[in-house]
Structures are given as C-alpha cells and as structure tokens.
Amino acid sequence: MLSCIRVRGLFTTSYPMLDSPPPTYHLPTLYKQREVGLADVLDRVLNKGVMIQGDAIISVADIPLIRLNIRLLISSESTYQKSLLS
C-alpha cells in the first residue's frame, strides 16, 4: 500500500506504508528528512507509548542505554545507512 505526498515543490515521492514514517514537510535536504524522520520514529517507539507493568518479561529498564545509543545512531550517517539496508 502506497501513499503519495508532495513536498512543496521540492520533490514528489511515495511512501511504502511499512517502511516509512509519516511525511516531513519543509525539508532543506532529502538526507536530513530521513534523519529527522528516524529521530521521530525512535523517540516515539522507544521512549513513548504505553509501558505495561506486571507480567511483561521485557521491561524497559535499559531505556537510558537505548537513549544514549540513539544519539550515537542519529549522529552516525554510516550506522544509519547500514540500518536502512539491514
């Protein structure tokens, strides 16, 4: 399933629903669009959302570690590109 957006005269692109976050608008460069989009995804999925207490066998006690690593991830183009390819 594809959805199409237009980014104010810069380019037109398609977003495969299972591969892309919601679109970002007003973008100086395509690469940075991806980077900001990734930051939005990781911040929401890893740090927000409902955290069930109780029987969940995986707690999110490692969140500080995850946060630290996200910073490194976002600042590292090579790691980011690898993650896209994996």
């Binding site: 629903m17 299972l18 608008y25 007003h26 939005d40 999925v45 409902v50 069930i52 995986i58 976002i74």
Partner: protein, 256 residues
Amino acid sequence: MNNELYYIYCLSRQEMRLPIGTSQIEIGNIWVIYARVPHAEFGQEALAKHIKDLAWVTTKAQKHSAIVQMCHLQTSVVPMRFPTIFETWESTRASIAENKAQYTAFLTKIDQKNEWTVRLYAQEDTLKIHLAKNIPALLLINEQMKTAQAGKGFILAKQYEKVLTEAIDAFIAQKAQLFIEAITPQTTEGIEVPLKYPQEDLVAHKIIAKYIFLVDKNQEDAFKNTLEQFHDQLEPQGIAFLYSGAWAIYNFLPHA
C-alpha cells in the same frame, strides 16, 4: 519454556484490517494487535544482546512504528512501547484486562485525533541579514563603524555583535511566542519538548524549539495552514518550520 512469545503492537476498540504478520484478538472490548515472535530473538537473554545492536533496534523500531501507523490510519489506537512482550497468552490477557478501564479512557480521549511534531529552525546568516536591516541600534552602530578609527571600530564591532546576539534571541523568542498563540486554538494539547538531540540540527539550520501537538482531525487543515503561513512569513527572515505527521498518539498517553 515457550518457543514463541507474544509481541504487542497496539490496542484498539474495533477490529481492523491487519498489517502483514500480525493477528488480533478481543479481550473485553479491547482489540489487541500482536504477533507471535521467536523466543530465540525476543527472549530476555536474546533481547539483552540485541538491544545493544543499533541496526537491530532501528529495524525493529521502524517496523513497530509502521505497524502502529497502519492501524492508526484505520482507527484510534493505544501504541505499546517497544518492545512489549509477554511470555504466555494468559499473562497477556491478564495484563490487558487489568488495565482495560485506563485503555478505554485513552481511546476515548484520542478518538479522531492525530499527533504532529513541529520543529523551529534558525538560519543564522539570514537572521543576521534581516535584523541588521531592521534594528535601529544595529543600523546606527553600522553607520558609526564606517567612519570610526581602528580602536573605536574594534569596540563598535564588539558592541555590534552583542546587540545582534541579543536581537536574534529576542526575535526568536517573540516569533515562537506568536506561533504558539496562533496555533493553540487549533490544537487540543501541546508539549514543548526539551532539545535532547543536537543532531536534530540541519545543514546551516540550528534547531531552536520542538513542539508536539494533539490535533483533532477536523482542525488539521487550519493547523497546517497556520504552520504554512508562519513558515512563508518567517523563512525569508531566518526562521523555518519543519513538521511531521500525522502520527499515532504516543505523547499524550499516561503510562499504564
């Protein structure tokens, strides 16, 4: 030990068309969107190892986000934090049932709403040019510098930089305040997010503020129009707006 675990993506109040690889089941009027995942990958020991692998985390987090987004496009959902995993179906059912009232309240609150992220960026060179032309004190110092001797010129240059820095800060604060006043009527709730990631700076654009808004779907056109107007007005003066959405609701849910 079970070979499979239960990975929960999100909850909703109605049955939906499922993303590939997921299943749904109703627990007391709450629909649970989940997948069975291998213990070898998502068990406690395996996860402790994987969670340090940035590529693995990124891939799985993106998948989690995409599935939640697909569900959110159909109906309101309560997204689970990555990774929410249960060892048995009985424990999954018990946890959902225990928190059912809270989830129902969440789903009522967020019905027909989306979440939007808005970032404000400063383009310093453009800001300096704009303010240099429009701040009387800067115009005056600039005039004085044209005829000043070397020593006096040095002092004036320092004074110019100080006034310019203060003017930039004041201009940004004023425009951010005007933006918040204009956008508030089109939003249900808003959060100013601390700037944790300097990496959110763009090429020649420094991030100056980040907001997350809860927006009713029938207000989204007005919301986006306001953003567009501010961007069109302020981008030539050095403040750009970048926004993303419409997201599932992650930031306005009390944690269960």
